[in-house]
């Protein structure tokens, strides 16, 4: 079973490779699950193996790092002879929690926490070594989470909901928020100092004014004004001002 588990884990790194609006991560989940289904009987029309492969590729959406939990759980349930309806219900029930926990733990926790620390370190003169540290530390957590999720799913099968209460997820998500907030909070003034250092006093005043106005505009017009639109708008204004001003 171990080589199949390893193959499934490797395939999980490409779980979003065919991301689409029809089945979202479904195809990637099906591809990752397929090695774990190979022990199922391949005889009959449709064979249990083929029916399970087809089910595995149905609609699925979650945080990509935690998709392994659904992959392992569904594959285990197939081997345990669970009904097709139960497996479909299990997959559907996992979408929301895996998306929510993963987003809180990774996209709104682990990633911005390390990114904030790296921004602060670069601003304090750490240079490229801070970026290397970010890459290594982030991926230790990343790979460990993918491996843990697949293993938990494969261990628990249809009882996988208990894995969602694991202290690693619950405490991790609870700690990641405050740590991220503190790290990025500290990184913002340090990054401002780092980026503004080469400018003359007058240009720094313009920069500070534009940053404050931009921040207020982004707060007042959420959804309509994005960082990209603001940046392009300010760049266009700077070009126009520079053109007129002699």
């Amino acid at each position: 079973m171990r080589p199949r588990f390893g193959r499934a884990l490797l395939r999980l790194f490409a779980v979003q490779g065919s991301y689409n609006y029809e089945r979202m991560l479904g195809l990637g989940v099906g591809v990752a699950e397929e090695p774990l289904l190979r022990g199922l009987p391949a005889d009959g029309v449709p064979s249990p193996y083929r029916a399970a492969v087809a089910r595995g590729a149905h609609f699925f959406n979650s945080h990509p790092y935690l998709a392994g939990l659904a992959v392992g759980a569904a594959a285990r349930a197939e081997h345990d002879g669970a009904s097709a309806e139960l497996i479909e219900r299990l997959r559907a029930a996992l979408c929301g929690p895996l998306g929510s926990i993963g987003d809180r733990l990774v996209w709104a926790g682990w990633l911005p926490l390390l990114s904030g620390l790296t921004l602060a370190a670069i601003s304090l003169g750490a240079g490229w070594s801070a970026v290397v540290a970010f890459f290594v530390v982030y991926n230790i957590g990343h790979v460990a989470l993918r491996w843990w999720a697949l293993r938990q799913g494969w261990t628990y099968g249809v009882r996988v909901a208990s894995a969602l209460h694991h202290p690693l997820l619950q405490r991790g998500a609870a700690l990641a928020g405050p740590a991220m907030a503190c790290a990025v909070g500290a990184a913002l003034p340090l990054s401002a100092q780092y980026l503004a250092a080469p400018f003359a006093v007058g240009a720094r005043a313009v920069l500070a004014g534009a940053a404050v106005i931009g921040f207020l505009a982004l707060r007042w017009l959420p959804g309509r004004l994005t960082g990209l639109r603001l940046a392009l708008g300010l760049a266009a204004a700077a070009l126009a001002l520079g053109w007129v001003w002699r």
Partner: protein
């Protein structure tokens, strides 16, 4: 910029573009990493780090949940660093503009790719429902290859802009040119700081996290004053 360096940047930008969503999401698509490595390829780490920080702050504006549409700042940062390196001391603003346009194009291309993938999956529904594992893997690998092609095209477009931009700064810049490109750089940095702050506050929300954010902000301000 030699052909070898251009090809290295194209390869790096493609890897960065694929990493964002498809494979393996190890965050080389993060502007800090994409920019630093692009800077190392060009022998200009300072430009790589500076533009990496600018686009990393802009990235805080994005929370990649569900099927949300967002700009793609990885290949954009590679193109921005290439522009800034070629343009010299006044290149930060010009690099940022090239990066922003490339990021916009990258975001649109991701949306188009997902629509193409949807159509391909829809057309292959019967094969998928039959449980044919080879058809499933073929469709999935097809999606991966399309994303690789998309990332290469976006990076090539960004590097094309990087090639066109620096001649604007050829020779000794006039005082007017200096003021225009300084303003451009200030605008890019201001937008990055604004987006970084607004995006972080959106992530932080209210309650205890906001208190931790304030504590961090205070600590950062004290560090800035202490280091002056």
């Amino acid at each position: 910029m030699s052909l070898g360096i251009l090809l290295a940047l194209l390869a790096w930008g493609t890897l960065v573009g694929v990493d964002l969503v498809s494979l393996p999401q190890m965050m080389i698509a993060r502007p800090l990493v994409a920019g630093t490595v692009a800077g190392a390829i060009l022998g200009d780490l300072d430009a790589g780090l500076k533009l990496g920080v600018v686009f990393e702050l802009l990235q805080y504006d994005i929370l990649p949940v569900g099927a949300v549409r967002y700009p793609e700042y990885g290949p954009a940062t590679v193109a921005a660093v290439a522009t800034a390196h070629a343009a010299g001391t006044l290149g930060l603003g010009l690099g940022a503009v090239v990066g922003l346009v490339t990021g916009l194009v990258g975001g649109i291309s991701i949306h188009l790719l997902r629509r193409v993938n949807s159509r391909v999956v829809n057309d292959a529904a019967a094969a998928l429902e039959s449980g044919d594992p080879r058809a499933l893997v073929r469709l999935h690998v097809g999606g991966l290859l399309r994303d690789g092609l998309r990332a290469a095209l976006v990076t090539a477009a960004g590097l094309g802009l990087a090639w066109m931009g620096p001649p604007l700064l050829a020779g000794v810049p006039s005082p007017r040119e200096v003021s225009i490109f300084t303003l451009l750089a200030a605008a890019a940095v201001a937008a990055a700081l604004a987006a970084g702050a607004a995006g972080t506050l959106r992530l932080v929300g209210r309650g205890v996290n906001l208190a931790w954010f304030a504590a961090g902000l205070g600590g950062g301000v004290v560090a800035v004053i202490w280091l002056r």
